[in-house]
Amino acid sequence: MLMNLFKFKGGVKPPTNKTQSVTLPIAVAPIPSRLVVPLHQSIGGTPRPVVQAGDKVLKGQLIGEADGWISAAVHAPTSGTVLEVAMHTQPHPSGLDSLCVVIEPDGKDEWIARDLVDYKSMAPESVREKLQQSGVVGLGGAVFPTHGKLTASKTVPMDELVINGAECEPFITCDDLLMRERAEEVVRGIGIFRDLLQPKKVLIGIEDNKPEAAAAMRAAVEAVGEDFVVVQVPTLYPAGGAKQLIRVLTGKEVPASKRSTDLGVQCFNVATAYTAWRAIAQGEPVVSRLVTVTGNVGEPRNYEVLIGTPMDELLKLAHPHPDTDGIIMGGPMMGFLVPDRRVPVIKATNCLIAHDERLFPPKAPEMPCIRCGACARACPHELQPFEMYWFSRAKNFGKTQEYNIFDCIECGCCSFVCPSRIPLVQYFRFAKSEIWAREREKNAADQAKARFEFKQLREEREKAEKAEKLAKAAAAQAAKKAAEAAAAAAAPAESAAQPVAAEAAAPVTAPVPPAAAPATGDAEKAAKMATIEAAMARAKAQREAVQPKNTDNLTPEQQKAAADIEARRVAAHLIEPEPAQPAAPPDPKS
């Protein structure tokens, strides 16, 4: 099928070294002595372990539960006993530890009950959920959870679905063999993605150095009865980069700040489509993957390997030569030397290369940059590596960002062509992780500042509230006191005015209780009560009549002085005029 292909700028043509490992068919690697399954194998949240030491697990049983939407579950690769859930060295350039589930296989390889469903009868949402629960992630290398990429943009219609079978990196042939031997399942997996995303067309890009794979895929597409287009793209590293392949097949260039879905394109790896089909149609979660074992070995070939298999055990199957001095995970362009040979195979492990001096002669020392521009010509993202190198080296990270360091995909083309053998990608990785660390620190500082300021605000508010409360209480107290004082001032005036009336009132009030008494029928008690009350009333009257005596019989001068004082107090607003009114001259004591 002929179609108009586009080109991306730059790229290099390193020796492909692929022929060694394609001569033999895929072999199933035997179950290793021990499986170390890291919980964090995909981009996003770290799955939570759901098993503990001593648990019996079956093949495909959930051992790590996805944490959040961008996260994928992890499953037991074979049946056996969980030895421990502990920290183990990771296949990561840092050589640091992370939480792993260690399983001792029982050799039976007994599957958990698999539910076979027809995905066409399922809602798209539950298909995505099923993919997440089956631990399906992008197996091209980025290990982004696949279900997170299967939602079409609401605003942009989905034009093309690009399936990546380019496999541009030297040495690696696992996708090639997968397409040759299991093309039908790949095509059916692509069918799932097509049904979820509803693109106008589906393009399968395969580099033209894999004619067998392309032929197998064409045959499978025909056999399944799909209308996918298998396109052979020119062999040029890194044609298998998602943005490069999209560019070659559709002519669309994905801008730095956008995702390909914003342009109506989505891209998946062929191996991802294969695992998606296995997960949906056969109920088998991702517990194994194809790994190319090549390099300095006697029998390079592709193996279907259980996730968690120690790399040294896998390498032994291919008979490494005795001068092997390390294992590279990934290809020679983007891979890294694993920190420890016993680290496990993970979902991102597409290739193991036995390292030796013959294949990878030691590089001569780095020379100064001569600004020849070869790196800029080779860069597939049209960046200026020599400028980014200069600023990374000087730790001027702001400037590296101005030169769009975050568009760099670390493909290694610049380092490959550099005549001064400068490890450019190393500098870019250093600058990127330094910028990320600073970003994290800045965010933490901003958050701490906001929380500190809020705490201060809260404390101030609490203080103000407390002060207000206290002021209110004090005001209430003062009002109460003033009322009491007024009452006290008012009462003597009354009793002084009519002391006799008070005395007379006592006998009047006294008979009231006896009047009520007959109702209870206890006359004697009522009489007693009456006498007590009468006595109390008398005593009260007497006391009141006696107290304010010092205000009686005042001389005219005294009365005048008291009136003057009263007038001054009123003028000074010390007391309200009203309470002062009824009381004639105030109590000198007050």
Binding site: Q90, P93, L337, P362, E410, F416, P423, A444, R451
Partner: protein
């Protein structure tokens, strides 16, 4: 006559320009001191008070008014360097011991639930209630150590934040200088290997 005209023109110019300046000073008035904001952005916001000021903002104010720039231990030597660059001052050695980033951890078996550390925490990173166990929200803890002194049972300890896969950083590429003959520790062909980053 000409002199009078010249004076008049100059006076007119002065009035016009004065009015423009007056307008500008009202219209474009800057609230707060922009320098303090810049200084504060460099300070690490741990709010630990190790500089002798009650928080990062007061210390930023003080620096703007001439205080020394080397009193912030959490900011470290790099912080001093950046402050020196900003203010055009001389870099001075840090006035305290530089510590790695830490995290406070409450021993929850010993905690009696007195709430004293909650009150001391400047960023509200401790949760708990009276007579209930307290714990520290690790993501919010700035490692300021202010919760240590108030604890009556000494159940809070500081732990250095270890390097892990999430916070690991690629190292600055260093060219290994080796004795001849060159050993075989160099790695991948194209992108340069790990050992170079040692």
């Amino acid at each position: 006559m000409e002199i009078a005209l010249a004076i008049a023109i100059m006076a007119l110019g002065a009035v016009v320009l004065g009015a423009a300046l007056g307008f500008a000073s009202i219209k474009f008035k800057v609230e707060g001191d922009p320098l303090v904001e810049k200084i504060e952005a460099i300070l690490p916001q741990t709010q630990c008070g190790q500089c002798g000021y009650p928080g990062c903002r007061p210390y930023a104010d003080a620096i703007a008014n001439g205080e020394e720039i080397n009193k912030c231990p959490p900011g470290g030597t790099e912080g001093v360097q950046r402050l020196a660059d900003l203010l055009g001052r001389e870099v001075k050695p840090l006035d305290a011991e530089e510590k790695p980033k830490q995290l406070a951890i409450i021993d929850e078996n010993t905690c009696i639930g007195c709430t004293l550390c909650i009150q001391a925490c400047p960023v509200d990173a401790i949760v708990g209630a009276a007579k209930q166990m307290h714990t520290i929200i690790a993501q919010q803890c700035t490692g300021c150590e202010l919760c240590l002194p108030p604890c009556p049972v000494e159940c809070i300890r500081m732990e250095v934040i270890q390097e892990n896969i999430d916070n690991w950083k690629w190292k600055y590429p260093v060219v290994e200088i080796k004795a001849a003959p060159i050993s075989a520790s160099d790695t991948t062909g194209g992108s340069g290997g790990m050992k170079e980053a040692a």
